[in-house]
């Protein structure tokens, strides 16, 4: 039996469905991210685990204990909020020790635990500061320490890095993962940032319109998306409408150009078929025993470490990513270009 289980959980607000038939088993010490666009139900699901929302249907169990109707203050679940939610009237030490004080721990125990937490988040000298005397990143670290001080069974993080700038976000992301692994605490992390979800998690739950689209390890989610939504939402994807040529051999046509889809077409009967291929799988040039397409360069965009070419192929725009090496030779806009990609780099949706 899993440590944290959500079993057929649903939630409606005045008739509108926010979460529908959500099932998840998270193991002890696992880091699971809920990934999806705004309004997909990820935060509502997190809030149901925290106890701030009561499911309309289904059950939530933690370590075999049914938590579905247990009030939030009786759950032993730590939560970190997007807006930090530090108590403005308390200094950092008091914020971190708040949960322990509520639990009736002795002052010496509280002081010891607070010191441990301050060391864990590398803010040993900040115990006597008020929240408004800290930077956003420091405040979020304190919020994390406060949530962990009570030694919760599960740590919940609701878009904790959204309010921070890019550099701090990256630093804190690594910090969160380090602390989570150090403590071995089961963690549920809500984000709309795919990079965050993929880099932090043991497993990712991709959600859309209140439903789970796919659950899997980051590599599965990225390399083998099960639905068009996942393919589009996680990373960049080229989706080209194709015509079937040979069902058994898996041959399709993009306009007038043949492509080997790398799979038989039995499973895609009866609906519009599209060829999916990631921009980084495409290369300029021609290769034997690979798929090759020709088109015309529409645009070139510099994105720092990569350069994105937009190539028009049979009336469709296709993105191609290249590493931005110093000696990179780029074609001119408007010039013809052949692109190539391995047969197993593409699939049909």
């Amino acid at each position: 039996m899993a440590f944290l289980e959500l079993h057929h959980v649903s939630k409606s607000f005045q008739g509108s469905v926010a979460v529908e038939d959500f099932n998840l088993n998270a193991d002890l010490g696992e880091f699971v991210s809920f990934l999806g666009p705004s309004g997909c139900g990820k935060t509502t699901t997190l809030r149901m685990i925290a106890g701030f929302e009561i499911p309309t249907a289904g059950t939530i169990t933690l370590d075999r204990q049914d938590l579905t109707f247990v009030p939030p203050n009786k759950r032993n679940v730590g939560m970190v909020f997007q807006s930090y939610a530090l108590f403005p009237n308390m200094v950092v030490s008091d914020n971190i020790g708040f949960g322990l004080e509520i639990a009736g721990k002795q002052k010496s125990q509280i002081a010891k635990r607070v010191a441990e937490m301050l060391t864990l988040i590398h803010l040993e000298d900040f115990g006597s500061r008020y929240p408004n005397q800290l930077s956003g990143g420091q405040q979020q670290r304190v919020a994390l320490a406060r949530a962990l001080a009570i030694q919760p069974q599960v740590l919940l993080l609701d878009e904790p890095l959204s309010a921070l700038d890019a550099k701090i976000r990256l630093e804190l992301r690594q910090e969160i993962r380090r602390i989570q692994q150090q403590l071995g605490i089961t963690t549920i992390y809500v984000t709309h940032d795919q990079e965050e979800a993929l880099s932090l998690s043991d497993r990712v739950v991709v959600m859309s319109e209140g439903k789970i689209e796919q659950i899997g390890m980051p590599s599965e989610i990225y390399n083998y998306p099960k639905t068009e939504f996942v393919a589009k939402f996680v990373g960049q994807i080229n989706l080209l409408p194709v015509e079937m040529v040979d069902r058994e051999k898996g041959l399709v046509k993009v306009g007038e150009q043949l492509v080997h889809a790398g799979q038989t077409l039995d499973k895609v009967n009866g609906h519009q078929v599209r060829l999916a291929v990631r921009p980084e799988e495409l290369n300029p040039g021609f290769r034997e025993n690979a798929n090759n397409l020709t088109g015309k360069v529409e645009a070139i965009t510099y994105l720092g470490s990569i350069v994105r070419l937009r190539v028009e192929i049979e009336g469709h725009s296709v993105s191609l990513d290249m590493f931005n090496e110093r000696k990179l030779q780029l074609p001119n806009v408007g010039s013809p270009l052949s692109i190539t990609f391995p047969v197993d780099a593409c699939w049909l949706l």
């Binding site: 203050n73 009786k74 807006s83 108590f87 403005p88 708040f98 949960g99 509520i102």
Partner: protein, 265 residues
């Protein structure tokens, strides 16, 4: 050039406003100091302050003021907190209800109180103690617009819902959240509301007069009818008390913007 003319106009109106406000006050102050013929003295103040009836009415109103502040805080703080937490949609309705004391004349309100609570089954005018309960309830209603708004502004300045949820996730129950998280962050708002309420009760006339209680307001009116210089001295003392309350509000508000986190912001 235009700016300069505008500034002169602004100065002119500011001066006119100040004169309009301070001239009568100066007149009252001057008059209050002329009880002894031909010299300026504090005799009127001495007479007022040594009058046992003044001290009794002052004590009574101050006590009623303190009780009103406590009752108002106990009623409004949890109510407004709950509105912000769970019933935010009804806030506009509550706002309208809270300004009713401005719309309904106090005299109408007092007659309503007397008609309702001056006869069975809810008769509260038979003993002084019961009448004090009635007058306190009246003061709470009259001070509602000030107390509500002061706490409302405080609530608006903090993220009540997230702070509550953060405290809940750390194991806190409702009374712990209210006392350890919400109230400390609303200290200035509550203090402001309390001081305005106190000042209002100290100067209130109609409730004390019609419910026949020894409040400061009716005493001041009585003195005004019977004597010449003492009412002016009383008026100045009354101004002083109100300004003291306002000064205290300013003082604690100033503290709130410092690093001492009085407001919690």
């Amino acid at each position: 050039m235009k700016t300069r003319r505008l500034n002169l106009w602004a100065l002119f109106w500011a001066a006119a406003g100040l004169l309009y406000f301070f001239l009568p006050m100066y007149g009252t102050l001057d008059f209050s100091l002329r009880m002894k013929k031909g010299v300026l003295s504090l005799l009127a103040y001495q007479v007022v302050l040594s009058d046992p009836q003044f001290l009794a009415s002052f004590r009574y109103s101050a006590l009623m003021g303190v009780i009103t502040v406590i009752v108002s805080t106990i009623i409004f703080l949890p109510t407004i907190y709950w509105i912000y937490l769970r019933l935010i949609k009804i806030r506009p309705v509550i706002e309208i209800i809270t300004i009713l004391p401005f719309i309904i004349p106090v005299i109408v309100y007092v007659f309503g109180l007397i008609r309702t609570f001056g006869r069975p089954p809810l008769q509260l005018t038979l003993t002084p103690f019961k009448t004090d309960i009635l007058i306190t309830a009246g003061y709470v209603v009259l001070s509602m617009p000030y107390m509500y708004r002061a706490i409302d502004v405080g609530m608006r300045s903090i993220d009540v819902r997230t702070l509550t949820e953060a405290a809940q996730s750390l194991g806190a129950g409702w009374h712990q959240i209210l006392l350890k998280v919400i109230v400390p962050n609303l200290r200035i708002a509550i203090l402001s509301g309390a001081l305005i309420t106190f000042a209002l009760v100290m100067g209130e006339l109609i409730l004390g007069d019609f419910l026949v209680r020894p409040a400061l307001g009716p005493y001041m009116v009585q003195v005004g009818r019977d004597r010449a210089y003492e009412p002016a001295a009383l008026a100045m003392l009354s101004y002083g008390l109100t300004w003291l309350c306002l000064g205290l509000i300013q003082l604690v508000s100033k503290g709130g913007t410092s690093q001492q986190q009085l407001t919690g912001r």
